[in-house]
Amino acid sequence: MSSRISTTRVHEAGIETLQKRQTELADAQERLTSGKRVAKASDDPAAAARAERALAGEMRAQTSERAVEASRTAMSLSETAMGDVVELLQQAREAMVAAGNASYTDNERKGLAEKLTSIRQQLLSVANRTDGAGSFLFGGQGAGAAPFVDAAGGVQYRGIAGERRTEPATDLPLTINGDGVFMTSLTGNGVFQTSAAAGVTQAWIDNGQVSDPSALTGSTYTLQFSVAAGATTYAVLENGLPTAVTAAPYVSGRDITVDGQTFRISGAPASGDQFTVQPSTATLSVFDTLDRAIGQLGTPSRTAAQIAQGNTDALRDIDQSVSQLQGARAAAGEMLVRIDSETGRLADQKLANQSERSRAEDLDMTDAISKFQSLQTGYDAALKSYSMVQRLSLFQYLNT
């Protein structure tokens, strides 16, 4: 090193060091007050990018939470609504059970029909219930107006079957498929459907049950009765074609089994009476069930057998509808459980992203404070040393 130093440089170097220290101190102070280690990308480019991604992740979780909340509202409202429907159907069932009372007169049954009419009205209003913001709970994939319309020939579903779902990241239902819940229960007992043909007045058929699932064929069977010389016999036709059973003897109330399907016909069938056993289809509408029951209860002068047949059918159909609704209600309840776990997962995700962001860009306070103090000491030392050095001059000692 050179053995001399210029006076200007002593001052310049001094001033420069002081400025540098002061800048460092100000930076440290700024970081301390803002609590951020990364205030601009160049402070730590990799951490800035990480923080950016973590923030996006946090926002994504927050967005998904909104979707989940919307689904939660829809599901819990729907679940309640379906509970109400089940409640109403139970009332309808009670009415139908009451209608089976043999001592009831036509007028009393008419009264029950009026009760069912009011239940039907309530049912329709529940089915068309909205979430309070214009969206129909049972609107399916979309409906222009109220999805269930009381049209000629019964209530129709004017929405699109299916369900509307939230954004792809959560993919939760926002509506219930009203068509599936109200309009497409399985007819009959769920496997096959028994029915008496028109004109049968003195006999009735029960709902039956499956006695041998492996024997089921999916065919439609017709039982044709004939009465000859006081003996009642029946023939079984499969899809309109004769089978081996051509003249089986009939005993009221005895089990008849056809290809794994067991049912009972009671009463005294007349010659020419027909009963049909056909596979269930997903076409049973809650409203049609009630409409049929109302129609029948309102019809005067029916025979006991007709009344029994009507009540049996109505109870069966109501039970099918209730089971369909309870299935859907359980599914909604299940969805609410899933939503709860989804909420928990999203909260975790949000927290994870928040801490990731904090790790990436926040200041370690202990470290920062100790660094600040060491900078402070450094600045102090620089000030002191400069003030001492600048006092040293030979001229000070040359006062003569």
Binding site: S2, S42, P45, A49, R53, R60, G142, G162, L174, L398
Partner: protein, 677 residues
């Protein structure tokens, strides 16, 4: 010989020491003068007078005043100053640029993410006007942030331009000063003594030029100093100067480049020859950092706007009756900048024509065809005369790769159209697919109903289906209004996914039918089903979860209630995490997916951050080298007051001693007189 000799010795000594004191005084006076080199008086003995008793000294002479000087250190200091100035300037400019890319909630990436996130409420409640309003507000915010960043970049460019002009003026002024000093020095040199202060002033002027532009110097025999800038271009030759000028960029008039006015003809200095000084820093920042930042920002803007608008167009909006959505976001379009040196006739460029609105436009034009494939770069189109007519060389400036293109070629997501009159041989065009995108970003939609939340198609499953298949996703990839009324029915014909399909029109007449096979994890696409007329595009993509069984029926039909459908809003949400930015289709056909908008912005941030960081490091480093070089120089040539104080005493005492000599001589003379008298 006698008293007079002593008198003369004393006189000489007094003069010499007075001169030394004078030099010391000059040093003290100039202790703070920039570029001042400490001076000292060189003394020599005045020879001897021969006598029989030998030589008697005749006292002292002032030989000359010399300045403490080092050619090497001076050169070193000014070179390192030039490099430090370049690094410092670039670092400061980059720090300005960094402010255009804020972090976190203030950032563009955040705004883009929030734009997509806003669709969640639309998906939740498609009929709710307020959630649609939020989408508009968020889109507006995103556009605003793009614009602000774009404007900041434009402002920085303007600042660079102004600074370049000012720097060039300074260099010209300083060069003039060097020339003037050269003249004075050459004249003074004739006296046989060096004009120290003039030399100092010239060194200082050259060092000041270095601050703006790195220079080389060559000393001439007459004492004048010639100054050259990069590539041997002369700046000062003796007393002659060459004027530097700010010339506008051949392509982009908003940019300036460094040029020289060589006796009336303007010539641009190639960038690589401008190595040090603030001007070099500015040019490097302008020609690389700023362009990259602008293109990266534009790439995000164009990719997001292109993708969002395309998704809008695929969906149905909330108007009555619903129609395909109109663009949500508009950004600045691609630009073509012809070179100012392209062939022209009477001032009108050959490769240009007057368009329908009466404006003269270049024959070369660009249009974006695939926004996700746009790259953050400018391109140069060159009408290479060695290629066949109609073929051109296209160079991507970001990495220097070249390829041959013709009219209609699609490169990196944009199409190049070249119409008559064709460019002349050697014409050049700068193609900027994305550079202007961000600064002209605006919200293009003001009616919340205009947001296309609904999908034009929807799928329904037959209630009698026995399989477990449900809809995983159905997305329209292009359904034209002419095909909107079509209904597709898929019937599965076995349990392993074989299906037959039928397309029927609104009157239920069979349009087409066929068969296909679904495999788990693969989607069913309808693009091959429809007549290949563009008017009847009926493209959608459907994926199932679960497994269909034989006899299961699936129907895809027109969305009956667009107001209540959220299919397209869901698809918009899907764009949030899709690789929208910078997809690459390689020559082999392999598609390298792009990155999501969040990642794209994070990458831009990291990129700018790294540049700022490394520029700051190199600025610190070169500043410390420059400081060291300057310290070495000033330590050698600068004034030390303690030293001068000591010298002051030293010469004062010598002066006093010399005066005493006179006194003694005087008294000797008196003694002689008295004795004689």
């Amino acid at each position: 010989m006698g008293a007079s000799a002593l008198m003369s010795l004393g006189m000489r000594a007094m003069t010499a020491n007075y001169a030394a004191l004078q030099a010391t005084g000059h040093n003290i006076a100039n202790v703070n003068t920039a570029g001042y080199s400490r001076q000292s008086v060189e003394l020599e003995t005045n020879g001897g007078q021969f006598t029989g008793a030998g030589f008697f000294g005749k006292g002292v002479n002032v030989a000359s005043v010399k300045r403490e000087h080092s050619e090497f250190l001076t050169r070193e200091a000014s070179t390192s100053r030039a490099i430090a100035a370049a690094d410092e300037t670039r670092s400061l400019q980059l720090q300005q640029l960094e402010k255009a890319f804020p972090l976190g909630e203030q950032g563009i990436g955040y705004a883009a993410g929030q734009l997509f996130n806003a669709f969640v409420d639309v998906a939740n409640k498609p009929a709710d006007a307020s959630s649609r309003q939020v989408v508009l507000a968020r889109t507006g915010e995103f556009a605003q942030r793009l614009r602000t960043a774009g404007e900041q970049i434009d402002n920085i460019q303007q600042g660079v331009t102004e600074e370049l002009r000012a720097s060039i003026t300074q260099v010209n002024m300083l060069a003039g000063r060097v020339a003037e000093l050269n003249q004075k020095i050459a004249a003074a040199q004739g006296s046989g003594q060096t004009p120290n202060d003039l030399l100092d002033q010239r060194d200082q002027a050259i060092s000041d030029i270095s601050q703006y532009l790195q220079v080389n110097t060559i000393a001439a025999g007459d004492g004048s100093m010639s100054v050259f800038i990069g590539g041997g271009q002369k700046l000062v030759l003796g007393t002659q100067t060459t004027k530097l000028v700010a010339v506008t960029d051949a392509f982009d008039p908003s940019r300036l480049q460094l040029g020289v006015n060589d006796s009336g003809s303007l010539r641009q200095m190639p960038d690589e020859l401008v190595t040090g000084g603030a001007i070099a820093g500015l040019l490097r920042f302008q020609n690389s950092d700023l362009i990259d930042a602008r293109n990266q920002l534009g790439q995000i803007a164009a990719a997001v706007a292109g993708s969002v608008n395309r998704q809008q167009a695929l969906g149905l909006d909330g108007s009555q009756p619903a129609v395909a959505g109109s663009p949500l976001l508009s950004v600045g379009g691609p630009r073509v900048l012809p070179s100012s040196s392209n062939a022209s006739v009477a001032g009108v460029p050959v490769a240009s024509y007057v368009n329908g609105s009466g404006d003269r436009v270049p024959s070369v034009s660009l249009s974006v065809v695939e926004p996700t494939e746009l790259q953050a770069s400018d391109y140069e189109l060159f009408a290479d005369p060695s290629l066949a007519a109609g073929s051109y060389t296209l160079t991507r400036r970001s990495d220097g790769t070249s390829q041959t293109v013709t009219n209609g070629s699609v490169v990196d997501g944009f199409r190049i159209d070249i119409v008559a009159p064709a460019p002349a041989a050697n014409d050049r065009f700068l193609l900027q697919p994305v550079a202007a995108a961000a600064s002209r970003a605006t919200l293009a939609l003001d009616n919340p109903r205009g947001i296309a939340a609904a999908s034009p198609v929807m799928a329904t499953f037959d209630v009698d289906n026995t399989g477990t298949a449900t809809l995983a996703a159905l997305s329209a990839t292009g359904v034209t209004p002419a095909a909107a009324e079509l209904t597709a029915t898929l019937t599965f014909t076995n349990d392993t996914g074989a299906y037959s399909w039928e397309l029927r029109d609104a009157a239920n007449a069979l349009v087409r039918s066929g068969t296909g096979t679904w495999t788990a994890g693969q989607s069913i696409r309808s693009d091959a089903w429809t007549p290949a007329t563009p008017a009847q595009r009926y493209d959608w993509e459907l994926s199932l979860s679960g497994v269909p069984r034989s006899g299961d029926v699936l129907t895809v039909g027109k969305t009956s209630f667009p107001a209540a459908d959220n299919g397209n809003a869901r698809a918009m949400m899907g764009l949030r995490d899709a690789g929208l930015v910078g997809q690459v289709t390689q020559a082999s056909g392999t598609v390298v997916p792009g990155v999501s908008v969040t990642d794209a912005y994070a990458n831009v941030l990291a990129n700018v951050g790294v540049r700022v960081q490394s520029a700051r490091y190199s600025a610190q480093q070169s500043a410390s080298i420059a400081d060291d070089a300057k310290a070495a120089l000033t330590d050698k040539t600068g004034v030390n007051l303690d030293e001068e104080a000591a010298r002051l005493i030293q010469f004062q005492q010598s002066y006093q001693a010399a005066a005493k000599m006179l006194q003694v001589a005087q008294s000797l003379f008196d003694t002689l007189l008295q004795t004689a008298g």
